[in-house]
Symmetry: none
Subunit: 271 residues, 2 copies
């Protein structure tokens, strides 16, 4: 499963370095920066210092202009906003959510790619960015002082996610031959890593974004969505669709509905 | 139970500040420095910056000359050395050890005071300091890159220990009115935890059935569903909706969509 850390509009170079180190120490290496405050942040001295030996993570990191560009191949988006939004995704503790996400029951196919999104140090995440996420992860903190440093938040999530994935021991001991045969037999040690049924091909975050735009256009055209008074309709629909982990084929069906609803009623067309 | 963080011969002021912040965000406040590299480290600018709002932890922190002086009142000492020592205490993962430590069985009385000992950034802990500990806690890390930052290690342990102690009790008791008013105030990023919004009232199976009938009618009317060749369209839509655990309100919205899609495009209605 692919894991990506996405930093949105990060201000402090030290935090970028700290996140790179936090990732690498937990065995992750895919870092994307969306509109960082300093465009050269990956090459700044402070960044390198805080990254310590995680230079390779900085070197392979990408800087992109929009969140959209950061989400290719990702199917499950985790916001790390601490403030729940009305009509936003459910707020969950990391440990509980990761367990549920990796639960091998047929009802919850494992995602192909999981992205952790971190907002800017001062303003956090934009509502519209939170709305497209499947969950808002909330690290339990002191009710009187919840000011968790960005790199520390990344460290805690990287740690929890690594443990949820089975830690390092299991990977170290995993014999590639056993692992591949485990897919076809019932070996308990690896059973949690193999879903019992073939997985549906989950739609990517970008495909979901395309679906939402299509629906928004169609619902506006039929007069259900008033662009002047949108009333959180699109965030709410997005949450419905996010919760159901749409497959590529289902996105196709739902786009078909959006396409057809703007055509005139065929019965009336005969008149 | 008392909890103390003890930093032995710490070199970097930033790390001292980072540890203070990591402690406070998890509700701990007892910090002792043993022979820090800079005697004035608690008042240095870099320390204060990295401590962010945890100035009170710095202000009440003590600087002592020997580890002995740092351990008054402590009954259970946890080393955080990454390298197991021959004849040293057992090496354990934090999560497992904390669970065992807090196991309420009579065989394992709870300690009065627990201290976490962190060695210097460059040399770690002295053997003689490790030997006096009850356990050496090993945070699982990448076998190829185990270089965990000192403040990050403190953050992970503070987080695990807080969860082992039962988390923040206040959360469970916070009432929804407080929660919703908090959601609308300006809370910066990574700010204090806010409990999830009140549970959604899930739609009943009958309400879902009514929704499906409504959609079936509408999709037939707009010509998307051909009753002669339904192609499993309705079962597939039902699966999408089922997986998202629709609330009553969401059913209402989706019925609104079904209602509106059969009306003529309002622009054309003017003709």
């Amino acid at each position: 499963m692919k894991t990506r850390f996405v930093l949105i509009q990060t201000s402090h170079a030290g935090n970028v370095g700290g996140v790179a180190r936090a990732m690498k120490v937990m065995g992750f290496d895919d870092l994307v920066l969306v509109n960082p405050r300093f465009e050269n942040v990956l090459r700044r001295e402070e960044t390198k210092q805080r990254a310590s030996g995680a230079h390779d993570v900085l070197e392979s990191a990408r800087v992109v202009k929009s969140l959209e560009d950061a989400l290719d191949g990702m199917t499950h988006l985790c916001a790390t906003a601490m403030t729940p939004r009305d009509f936003g995704p459910p707020t969950r503790y990391p440990r509980e959510h990761f367990q549920a996400l990796l639960d091998p029951s047929p009802a919850t196919p494992r995602p192909d790619g999981v992205a952790f999104l971190f907002g800017s140090e001062r303003f956090g995440m934009l509502n519209e960015d939170v709305y497209r996420c499947h969950v808002a992860l909330s690290i339990p903190t002191n009710p009187q002082f919840g000011s968790l440093n960005l790199a520390s938040a990344a460290q805690v999530l990287a740690y929890e996610w690594r443990l949820a994935l089975g830690g390092f021991e299991q990977e170290a001991h995993q014999d590639p031959i056993q692992a591949s045969s485990a897919a076809h037999s019932a070996i308990p040690a690896y059973s949690s890593f193999e879903p019992p049924l073939p997985e549906r091909a989950l739609a990517s975050a970008q495909e979901i974004a395309g679906l939402m735009t299509h629906w928004q256009d169609s619902l506006t055209q039929i007069g259900f969505l008033d662009p002047q008074a949108p009333k959180k309709l699109m965030p709410r629909l997005q949450q419905i669709f996010n919760r159901s982990d749409l497959s590529k084929e289902e996105v196709h069906i739902l786009r078909g509905v959006a396409k057809q609803m703007v055509l005139q009623n065929p019965i009336k067309r005969i008149d």
